[in-house]
């Protein structure tokens, strides 16, 4: 019981500690990066259960803000190799289990 309790506590700790957005890789300029990151956080929180909607929201907002042909991938496990326009890529983790990759390529 104690062990499970501890495990739960750990999990809670993990969730609490790992909830912040962690940028893994990006080559965006500062301003754009911050904006994109905030957008990703907003989208993921809004559609916590529906990654597709979150991705759609991010994509559409990015298209509006920074010009068309953005691509967004959100998931808990995936591998990718993408070609992106330089200074238009953001790869981040969020919420301890989500990976978000946003890039532009027309």
């Amino acid at each position: 019981m104690a062990a499970t309790g501890e495990g739960k506590k750990e999990e809670a700790d993990y969730k609490r500690l790992h909830s912040f957005p962690l940028i893994r890789h990006t080559d965006m300029p500062e301003e754009m990066r911050v904006e994109t990151m905030e957008l990703c956080v907003t989208a993921c929180e809004k559609f916590a259960t529906n990654n597709e909607s979150a991705a759609k929201m991010i994509k559409e907002s990015m298209d509006k803000k920074f010009g068309s042909s953005w691509h967004v991938v959100i998931g808990e496990g995936f591998g990718f190799e993408v070609t992106h326009e330089v200074k238009n890529l953001l790869y981040m983790f969020f919420g301890g289990s989500l990976a978000v990759c946003v890039w532009k390529c027309s």
């Binding site: 893994r24 591998g79 070609t83 992106h84």
Partner: protein
């Protein structure tokens, strides 16, 4: 259709035929203007003689018809008798043609238009010809005929379908002109823009990767927190500035790290740029030989090449020059001042021949540099002697502008300017060590032990009654380690032994003024050279206390140097800006080259031969270092059979 106008002039009948092509026949009106009016003679034209042509006919045209009956009578019921009628119809009809004009709104016209598939709105006029005239003189053979022609004919309607409402033109003198201009040839022009740069990125996202990333990040954050904690705690211990300084230091370190990545690339680029700018000098250095040397028997010339200067060394005197033994293109120059009233800062610079515009290394010093030496084996160690009596050792591999070793008053520094430093072979413990000589009369050996300099007095120069002598230069024997020469400011040269510190082996009354340089020959073990401000250069055999050769140069001699390639060649610089090069093998009395290399006012202070290239560098009191290439006559190599040693022995005066 042709319109014919028959004109009977006074004496000539011509037929104007106007080629009136209608749309039916020619389709377009293109030719209409180009044909114009042609003059044609009918075949049946009367041929009249001149007299006939000049004959005048008088005709009166009246409105009465000659054929009209004049005797028409009618029965008048009023008068009950026949009466002639005076009013006779004078009109005569010659030709009648039924017209086929239709009113376009009429049923007939509509029907026709429908038949031809024309839209009803198109204006169509069916033309006809109707001629009527009054003939005044019935006997007239020529008739004036005028035909009123309608522009548009029914049969031309088909061709008009494409054209909408054409403007009716004046039939009399209408003419249409057109010209065709050259059409500009079409050209294609396009340009292509570069697509925005792209690059690839790939990664794998799964739960453990994400977890690891978060854990790593958290650890980093914790470390940062600890650091931040550590800094304020230090603040408590020490003063506030320290912590800030450390922060700044850390920042600058990271910044410099970023730049360091580019350092090598920028260095290469700088050298490339320099090679481009001074490409001709490099080619001269490598390939140019003075052809005129073949025609001069002995004399040679100096070809000026690069000139080295640096803003930080401006207005300073070059007080020392030394080639790096390992990297033959690198040399060190010490800057300071010989003028005792103008002492100040100094600078130690390292130049390479590959980059003449900016030094490889710069070490600014608070005190003027007087001498320097680069270690033969450990080529990054440089010993430097200062005007204030300090000696220091710089390590080129270390970052920073400070020397790695520096003597202090505690460790027995000189009390007067250090005139010469010279590296020695490592001692038995394997420590590097060097000797220094100063005008306080001491010759001191310095040993680099861990992180301090340990000094040992080798000899204190004394003379009867005088507590110490001021030394100006010294040189160690190339083969006999213990033997060295000391030149003094009084003009004497002492031969000393490291181990007998109390007395000299020999004293030469060499010069009447300070001995500026004394140097052993590179090849001959007994021969050395000395020079002085008393205008002379002397060559000695150390076993004999009178000079073998004395050369008068008519100006204070700043420095002499033996050539590394021949035992008989040496060079001297004088304060009047001249370089003198001697080859005893060629001429025992005069210089084989005597060249003014800088302005006369500029004093030359030092000269050094490059160890492998036929190149000398000359330093002056303006902070410039100039390099010269020796012409072939100046660098005659000794013949293989005859060794350098024997050659110099051969040229030695017999009286010795």
């Amino acid at each position: 259709m042709q319109d014919a106008f028959f004109c009977r002039g006074s004496n000539e009948t011509v037929l104007f035929v106007q080629d009136k092509e209608d749309g039916m026949e020619h389709g377009d009106e293109w030719d209409e203007w180009s044909h114009g009016k042609t003059l044609t003679k009918p075949p049946d034209q009367l041929e009249l003689t001149e007299a006939e042509l000049n004959e005048t006919f008088t005709r009166i045209l009246t409105a009465t018809n000659p054929h009209a009956p004049q005797n028409i009578v009618r029965y008048s019921f009023k008068k009950r008798s026949y009466k002639p009628i005076s009013a006779v119809d004078q009109m005569a009809v010659h030709f009648v043609l039924e017209g086929n004009l239709l009113y376009k709104d009429s049923d007939e016209a509509r029907r026709q238009m429908a038949k031809q598939g024309l839209p009803a709105v198109i204006f169509v006029v069916f033309g006809s010809a109707c001629i009527g005239f009054t003939q005044a003189t019935p006997g007239e053979d020529a008739a004036e005929m005028e035909e009123v022609e309608e522009e548009d004919r029914p049969d031309s309607a088909a061709s008009k379908t494409g054209k909408k409402e054409q403007k009716l033109t004046n039939q009399i003198n209408f003419c249409e002109r057109a010209s065709q201009t050259l059409n500009n040839p079409p050209r294609e022009r396009n340009c292509q823009t570069e697509p925005p740069p792209r690059c690839n990125f790939s990664a794998i996202a799964n739960q453990w990767e994400i977890y690891d990333a978060y854990v790593e990040e958290l650890q980093k954050q914790e470390k940062n927190k600890e650091k931040q904690k550590a800094i304020p705690s230090k603040k408590d211990d020490e003063d506030d500035d320290r912590g800030k300084k450390k922060m700044i230091l850390m920042e600058t370190q990271t910044q410099s790290d970023d730049l360091c990545k580019m350092a090598k690339a920028t260095k290469i680029l700088e050298r490339m740029v320099n090679q481009n700018i001074y490409g001709d000098l490099a080619i001269d250095f490598k390939y140019y030989e003075d052809c005129s040397d073949e025609f001069r028997e002995q004399e040679g010339t100096l070809l000026p090449l690069w000139k080295f200067q640096c803003d930080k060394a401006k207005k300073l005197t070059v007080t020392a020059l030394c080639w790096n033994k390992k990297y033959q293109d690198l040399f060190a120059a010490g800057m300071g001042s010989y003028d005792f009233s103008k002492q100040g800062r100094g600078v130690l610079v390292f130049y390479t021949l590959k980059n003449s515009s900016f030094p490889e290394y710069i070490y600014p010093t608070n005190c003027g540099i007087m001498c320097l030496d680069i270690h033969e084996q450990v080529s990054y160690l440089v010993a430097v002697g200062f005007y204030d009596g300090c000696v220091a050792v710089y390590n080129l591999k270390e970052d920073g502008q400070q020397p790695v070793y520096q003597s202090t008053a505690k460790t027995g520094k000189h009390t007067d300017p250090v005139w010469q430093v010279r590296w020695q072979n490592d001692d038995m413990d394997g420590n590097h060590n060097f000797y220094s000589v100063s005008s306080d009369g001491r010759v001191v050996s310095w040993t680099l032990v861990k992180n301090e300099l340990v000094s040992t007095d080798i000899i204190k120069l004394t003379m009867e009654g005088v507590p110490h002598l001021s030394t100006a230069s010294f040189d160690f024997h190339k083969q006999i380690n213990h033997l060295f020469l000391v030149g003094t400011q009084e003009g004497k040269i002492h031969k000393c032994f490291k181990t007998y510190s109390s007395q000299y082996l020999e004293t030469y009354d060499a010069h009447t003024l300070a001995v500026d340089a004394v140097k052993w020959n590179h090849f001959h073990p007994k021969v050395f050279i000395s020079c002085s401000s008393d205008w002379t250069v002397k060559i000695w055999d150390h076993t004999i206390n009178t000079p073998m050769f004395t050369f008068e140069l008519y100006a204070a001699v700043g420095d002499v140097a033996w050539a590394p390639y021949s035992s008989t060649v040496f060079a001297a610089v004088t304060v009047n800006g001249k370089v003198h090069i001697f080859d005893l093998n060629v001429n025992k009395y005069e210089a084989i080259c005597q060249q003014q290399v800088v302005a006369k006012k500029t004093k030359l202070t030092h000269i050094e031969f490059n160890l492998v290239h036929p190149l000398i560098i000359v330093g002056d009191d303006q902070g410039y270092i100039t390099s010269f290439k020796l012409s072939p006559n100046l660098r005659k190599q000794p013949k293989v059979r005859q060794s350098s040693l024997s050659r110099l022995t051969d040229v030695m005066p017999m009286q010795i």
